[in-house]
């Protein structure tokens, strides 16, 4: 599902997410979709901020405490400062980052607006999560990432856009496993994912609504389903928790309750 052309009348998940973050790269269709979601899930902007704050803490932990120097970010989205490579390279200037997204425009933004350190490397790949070889075997990716050294695979707020397709025999879990298989021992997997676990009535309303109108197609999963993404890996402390509870480095904002944020987040190491 590689997308090259923009349809300005259709909400785009990356731009809708930018609207959730109060960014300025959204179209009228995206704002409309964002407002529609916020009408049902008033905490969505809080959730987006909690997700971003988690990513920064997780990347800092990976760079500083886990010694990770290579990052593969799939489903990068519209650049928002600080971007992943800025966080990683502020602690490890030699960090190498490959960003991938299936929307060409997102990659064009990334190429133009994300400049890394001279010591490190950043690369941008137009590729589809549904097609692991297109990412894992890409010469551009192999030029930047060394698969004999640990890599952090970051799937932030991505997997809930990936619906399981039993007819074609493709599940999000199989896809994640295929990526993880390619990584060497000592690599890490970072996942954040929305869930209906904490606030079932709100999620019933979201799931029964017109999801095409929101640009938020995919699959909402429960804690056991999300935990399965980490099969064969060792979750690092504190395990699979709401993003605001993962190694908080200050006070958790009062509005970021489990129900409001409605997400699970975790970091795991490949033995």
């Amino acid at each position: 599902m590689l997308e090259e052309q923009i349809d300005p009348n259709k909400p785009d998940p990356a731009r809708v997410y930018d609207w959730f973050l109060d960014g300025k790269t959204s179209y009228p269709a995206d704002e409309q979709a964002g407002q529609f979601v916020a009408g049902i899930w008033p905490g969505v902007k809080t959730a987006a901020r909690a997700n971003r704050a988690f990513i920064h803490r997780a990347v800092r932990w990976l760079a500083k405490d886990a010694g990770i120097r290579q990052f593969l970010d799939i489903g990068t989205g519209i650049p928002t400062e600080p971007n992943l490579h800025q966080t990683a390279q502020s602690l490890a200037p030699d960090a190498r980052i490959v960003y991938t997204d299936n929307r060409l425009i997102v990659l064009r933004y990334a190429e133009a607006l994300m400049t890394g350190t001279p010591e490190g490397r950043t690369a941008y790949l137009h590729a589809d999560f549904f097609d692991p070889p297109s990412i894992l075997r890409s010469p551009e990716l192999r030029e930047v990432l060394d698969f004999s050294q640990p890599i952090a695979l970051c799937l932030n707020a991505l997997l809930h856009y990936i619906a399981d397709d039993p007819e074609r025999g493709v599940t999000a879990q199989d896809l994640v496993a295929e990526y993880v298989r390619a990584l060497p021992s000592g690599s890490c997997l970072v996942v954040t994912h929305v869930t209906s676990d904490f606030d079932p009535p709100t999620w019933d309303r979201i799931l029964s609504g017109n999801r095409a109108a929101t640009g938020q197609m995919g699959q909402v999963r429960t804690e056991p389903e999300i935990r399965r993404f980490f099969d064969g890996l060792e979750l690092v402390e504190p395990g699979l928790v709401p993003p605001q509870d993962w190694r908080p480095d200050g006070e958790v904002p009062a509005e970021a309750t489990h129900a409001t944020v409605s997400m699970w987040a975790g970091v795991a190491r490949k033995p």
Partner: protein, 287 residues
């Protein structure tokens, strides 16, 4: 009170936004801040929107109310900067008012997006190209005035490589037609294209060519310059050139239309980095 201007200058705008963020971080209401300065809430609002300039005597009581006394020197510097004229003021004889206001905004930009349908954007022009275009634009100007205009332009380009703070990312989409049009003749054009390639090799500059065989929504606009600032609460602005000047807009509906047009051009499948673009005429000129 220096409230003479109807529109805030860029430095006032940035100072105001900074004061607003400090107040919010301190958890103070507009009324509380206003009472610390013994001014009305309306005046406080105008301070934060950049319409009213902070007086030096107001710095200490305001920062005390925010528990940020240590930031006094920094704010003092910013107030002083907001009051001192920009480097461009000495080019008044060749500087139209719309450009004077805009230059301050451009200097603060964190992202500058350009769309160039017919001529190379001023920020990316080589001196020879700029001179040739200035002669067309100002046929009655003598050599001295043309040189003054050129100096102003070069000053504007230099401001983009500022060392105080991070320089902006410049992202330009240039139509192939722009590169084929021989402003100033083949030698000037060769030099201009080399200049673009040199810029593209610098960190922070991205220059793409939209080949003639492609079509996208931006073709329906004229030249566009769009600026974005680092404080997230300041709106994007578009600068739209007209024959006798330019129109600057920060209206969200207008800005969004141009955002969509620029994105449409940016996602053209066959666009090329300037370093990979080769014109036939250029090959012929070499041969």
């Amino acid at each position: 009170m220096s409230a003479g201007r109807s529109e805030p200058t860029a430095t006032q705008l940035f100072l105001g936004a900074r004061l607003r963020r400090m107040r919010e971080a301190a958890g103070r209401s507009m009324a509380e801040a206003a009472s610390a300065l013994r001014i009305s809430s309306v005046a406080m609002r105008r301070l934060e929107s950049g319409h009213l300039m902070l007086e030096p005597a107001q710095i200490a009581p305001l920062l005390a109310a925010y528990g940020r006394a240590e930031a006094a020197d920094e704010i003092q510097d910013e107030v002083a900067r907001a009051r001192c004229p920009g480097w461009w003021e000495r080019y008044r004889e060749v500087l139209p008012d719309w450009l004077a206001d805009y230059l301050a905004l451009e200097e603060h930009a964190q992202i500058i997006r350009l769309y160039a349908p017919s001529t190379v954007p001023e920020l990316l022009q080589s001196p020879g190209y700029a001179k040739a275009l200035l002669r067309i634009q100002h046929p009655d100007d003598g050599a001295r005035l043309i040189n003054r205009r050129l100096e102003l332009l070069i000053g504007r380009q230099a401001a983009l490589r500022r060392t105080a703070g991070r320089p902006p990312s410049v992202w330009a989409l240039v139509e192939e037609a722009t590169l084929r049009r021989q402003v100033g003749g083949p030698a000037v054009m060769r030099d201009q294209i080399e200049h673009l390639r040199g810029l593209a090799a610098e960190s922070g500059f991205t220059i793409s060519v939209m080949p003639l065989h492609t079509a996208h929504a931006a073709l329906l606009c004229g030249p566009v310059q769009m600026v974005r600032y680092q404080p997230a609460d300041l709106a994007d602005r578009v600068l739209l050139r007209t024959l006798d000047g330019a129109e600057v807009s920060d209206r969200p509906d207008v800005v969004r239309q141009y955002l969509m047009a620029l994105d449409s051009a940016a996602s053209v499948r066959d666009s090329l980095p300037i370093t990979e673009w080769i014109a036939n005429w250029e090959e012929r000129a070499v041969a």
